[in-house]
């Protein structure tokens, strides 16, 4: 990996069914991810994705290319909620670019958007760049 390397763009559609599956798989049953009335009571326009679901699926932009074993760290700020429409869901678009490589660790910046909104801020993945080991 070299600075400036770009990973293939990831486009992922989130559905409300997927939010229910994530609630069960993760154990986060907060109702703002399941029911419009609960989301609206919390001041949101409607059901929103779990921040951790958006974080998890955005990482695929990197792991689809290098696998999960080499991921050393991953950090994000939950900047804006991803509102998931009952009929159309929501599309999340992830672009990932290598920013630096030092000490066998590549730093990859993720740009994670839903429509015009940047939904994750300062999203950064470090990848063990042990070329030759694989």
């Amino acid at each position: 990996m070299r600075p400036g390397d770009v990973f293939p763009e990831l486009r992922a559609r989130l559905t409300r069914g997927q939010l229910l599956a994530y609630a069960d798989a993760s154990g986060d049953q907060n109702q703002i991810h399941q029911r419009d009335d609960a989301a609206q009571a919390a001041g949101l326009p409607g059901v929103v994705a779990h921040g951790m679901l958006t974080m998890g699926l955005a990482l695929r932009a990197v792991t689809d290319a290098v696998g999960p074993e080499r991921v050393a760290s991953y950090s994000v700020r939950f900047a804006k909620p991803v509102v998931v429409d009952a009929a159309d869901g929501a599309e999340v678009v992830v672009r990932a670019e290598v920013k630096a490589v030092a000490d066998q660790l590549a730093t990859v910046a993720l740009d994670v958007r839903c429509g015009d909104d940047k939904v994750l801020g300062a999203a950064t993945v470090t990848v063990r760049d042990d070329e030759g080991a694989r």
């Binding site: 907060n30 990482l59 695929r60 999960p68």
Partner: protein, 139 residues
């Protein structure tokens, strides 16, 4: 007494061990819409962010701590960082230990930094989670 800067350093006991199973890994990967072959087959590893399942169990101890007065409804996950020494695998048993690192009071909210160490039942550290939780406090 509600949460305050004096709670920094408070540590909670390790959670009960969680058995990482192939079925649990598959369900988590499916919910992410992730069909990476590493998460299937006879010896699957867990998607990196599967660590949140453990972190969440550890965070629950803060919400159950009557001294802090936190409510899940009044709390937002503001940021999250994970660092892994290796992936979790099916067949392992892991526990999580939470510690309050820092509390910044900005009434009507407080920013609570929580670190969670995830280790195998044998004591091998595999992942650290650091989160900022933004929670409502009385002004």
């Amino acid at each position: 007494m509600p949460i305050s800067a004096e709670h920094a350093g408070r540590a909670y006991p390790a959670t009960e061990p969680l058995a990482v199973t192939a079925a649990g890994i598959a369900a988590f990967a499916r919910a992410l819409g992730d069909d990476n072959p590493a998460y299937a087959g006879p010896e699957p590893v867990a998607p990196p962010t599967f660590a949140v399942v453990l972190a969440q169990r550890a965070w629950q101890q803060l919400f159950d701590d009557p001294e802090l007065g936190l409510s899940l409804d009044g709390t937002i996950h503001a940021d999250q960082r994970f660092a892994w020494s290796r992936p979790l695998s099916a067949g392992e048993s892991v526990r999580a230990r939470a510690r309050i690192e820092k509390v910044r009071l900005r009434p009507p909210t407080a920013l609570v930094t929580v670190a969670v160490d995830i280790a195998t039942s044998d004591g091998e550290a595999v992942c650290q989670s650091v989160s900022t939780l933004m929670t409502r406090v009385a002004p």
